[in-house]
Amino acid sequence: MKQSKYKGWLYLLPAILFLGIFMVYPLIDVVVYSFEEGYNFVSQTSNGTGLYNYRYVLRDPYFVQALKNTFVLVIITVPVSTGLALLISLALSSVKPLRNLFQTVYFLPYVTNTLAVGLVFMVLFKKTEYTDGMVNLLIRFFGGSSVDFIDGPHWAKMLVMCIYTVWIVLPFKILILTSALASVKEDYYRAARVDGTRPSRIFYRITLPMISPMIFYLIITGFIGAFKAYSDEVALFGTDLNSAGMNTMVGYIYDMLYGNSGGYPSFASAAALILFAVVFTITCINLMVSRNNVHY
């Protein structure tokens, strides 16, 4: 018995070593950095410990801007993309002809490179000397005045950002939901039909509860994904997100580490821990809400 106790740990050792070096140690290190004031990579020294880093980050207008942007992005894109994906998958599962074609078309954005998609959005939205972009052409066609979506007012940039994010996360959600819908047994629908159930009641009382685990999964991963948004912003607005006013929390952390104004690991660590706290809180709330509404 005694021998087998150590044996077990021996078998676990490779995994523990690996996870310890590459996951646990960095995590602890980030926490340590975030409390060390003015830590310097080169000299490996700091001016002392305390909450100064947190105070600085929370007072930094760029951080506050990034926080706001991230929250707007999360609150708008997660419900919109999930709802839209549900609508599209319902439509997809109810059509017979050309279903495969539609499924492929809807899945294309998923396999397209982020930066390539960014370029397409530039064509749609960016104002240049030669053109105002396709969307502006449309707006003007209907009698509106053109808006600079890329370098113009903040709301316009946010709008483009949201459309972009929804568009890029949609395929995965559609994929998940169409397979979830397909996994609901036909017999449930037949039973409901024989009982004379209206389509709306079938949807709310049967379809929705049956696919609720998948919807919940999409919402959780959607929240986390939206909080971690960064590359999409770069694709649209370039690397200098702070001056464009479109920075996100991950963007802020990156800038603090490596950006033009970089070299502040302490501030970056503090911001990272704030982001972690936010995501953790939201996920906990999600889990609590789901307990009563998700049927496994």
Partner: protein, 377 residues
């Protein structure tokens, strides 16, 4: 409610796209189901039983023919307006709802003047639950129920809206043997108590025979025989029906009828007078080739018996004994006869001789496989 199927046919396009010919699942069905009876649709798998049920429920529309409930033509009525209760083979209980919610679900669909309050729904559900004896399970989820309990819930859900017709698709196939026996009695009881015309589909002839008022034997989308279970068992209309009903199955021999005697091999085993068309044909001097079907209980061991078989073994099963033997003219491998245990004494050695009970013998035309009527002499 009386149900009438009038020349109903259902065709499906062939899945194999290279074959343009449609698959005919149900071929020109015409029969009438009397009000308030328990009817068993019986046949081997793939014979169109479930399709017939779906046609009656309205989940499938017939390619031709008409369906009547009472005197109303419901052929073009969709399933939701027919008011039938349907119990699925896998029960199709909504897994996220409690038993109570499952049973009240159909009631929640009622609109307008028929709309019920929550209390009324619960009262109705409780009433039906009592009928199928699941009153103490109302707050459970389907996953917390045994197979038999789930089946009762499914029946309760189908019954709660007081359908004019109750349809059951293989209702007992998901239950274990003991539960199956118990549940089929239960089914018959529920049907008697409610008086709802009930049609159930099964491939198990024992199940159909034991509880149905009427059985419909089908094969390849064609009705072979309709009748009371005992009638169909005693006088099957053809070889298929005779083989399909009864366990152990009927023993079929190759034989012929000559000079008013049934011959199996060289032995004249029964003196008969053929009736009907075959009787007229027999008047000549030729011999008529036939299949001779003998039910297992039609063999009586006797020293002066006219059928001689080679004895293989004797299997004692308590109440009965089954004598396994062989005969060169037998179709298949072994003849199985069931004999009351007290009559077994004296059987042994190499051969066994049987006298045949004429009422347990059927003759079938060798080519058409249709029954040939005869009287024992």
């Amino acid at each position: 409610m009386k149900i009438t199927l009038d020349h109903v046919t259902k065709r499906f396009p062939n899945r194999n796209k290279k074959i343009h010919e449609d698959v005919i699942a149900v071929n020109d069905f015409t029969f009438e189901i009397p009000d308030g009876k328990l009817i068993g649709l019986l046949g081997p798998s793939g014979c169109g039983k479930s399709t017939t049920l779906n046609l009656i429920s309205g989940l499938e529309m017939p390619s031709a023919g008409r369906i009547f409930f009472g005197d109303t033509d419901v052929t073009n009525l969709p399933a939701e307006n027919r008011g039938v209760g349907l119990v699925f083979q896998n029960y199709a209980l909504y897994p996220h709802l409690t038993v109570m919610d499952n049973i009240t679900f159909p009631l929640g669909n009622l609109r307008g003047a028929e709309k019920l309050t929550k209390e009324q729904m619960r009262a109705k559900a409780t009433e039906v639950a009592k009928l199928v004896q699941i009153s103490e399970l109302m707050e459970r989820r389907p996953s917390e129920l045994s197979g038999g309990q789930q089946q009762r819930v499914a029946i309760a859900r189908a019954l709660v809206k007081m359908p004019s017709v109750l349809l059951l698709d293989e209702p007992l196939s998901n239950l274990d043997a003991r539960l199956r026996l118990q549940t089929r009695e239960e089914l018959a009881r529920i049907q008697r108590e409610t008086g709802i015309t009930t049609i159930f589909v099964t491939h198990d002839q024992e199940e159909a025979m034991s509880i149905s008022d009427l059985i419909v034997v089908m094969k390849d989308g064609v009705i072979h025989q309709i009748g009371k279970p005992q009638e169909v068992y005693d006088s099957p209309c053809n070889l298929f029906v005779a083989k399909f009903l009864g366990t152990p199955p009927i023993n079929v021999f190759e034989g012929c009828v000559r000079d008013g005697q049934v011959f199996i091999g060289e032995e004249a085993v029964l003196d008969v007078k053929l009736t009907g068309d075959a009787g007229a044909a027999d008047s000549g001097d030729g011999s008529l080739p036939v299949w001779v079907g003998i039910r297992p209980e039609g063999f009586v061991p006797a020293n002066d018996g006219r059928l001689t078989c080679a004895l293989s073994k004797i299997e004692v099963m308590g109440r009965d004994t089954s004598v396994v033997s062989t005969h060169p003219s037998f179709v298949g491998t072994t003849i199985r006869s069931i004999i009351p245990s007290e009559d077994v004494t004296g059987i042994g050695g190499e051969i066994v001789r049987f006298r045949l009970k004429p009422s347990k013998v059927c003759l079938f035309d060798k080519t058409t496989e249709k029954t040939i009527g005869f009287e024992a002499r």
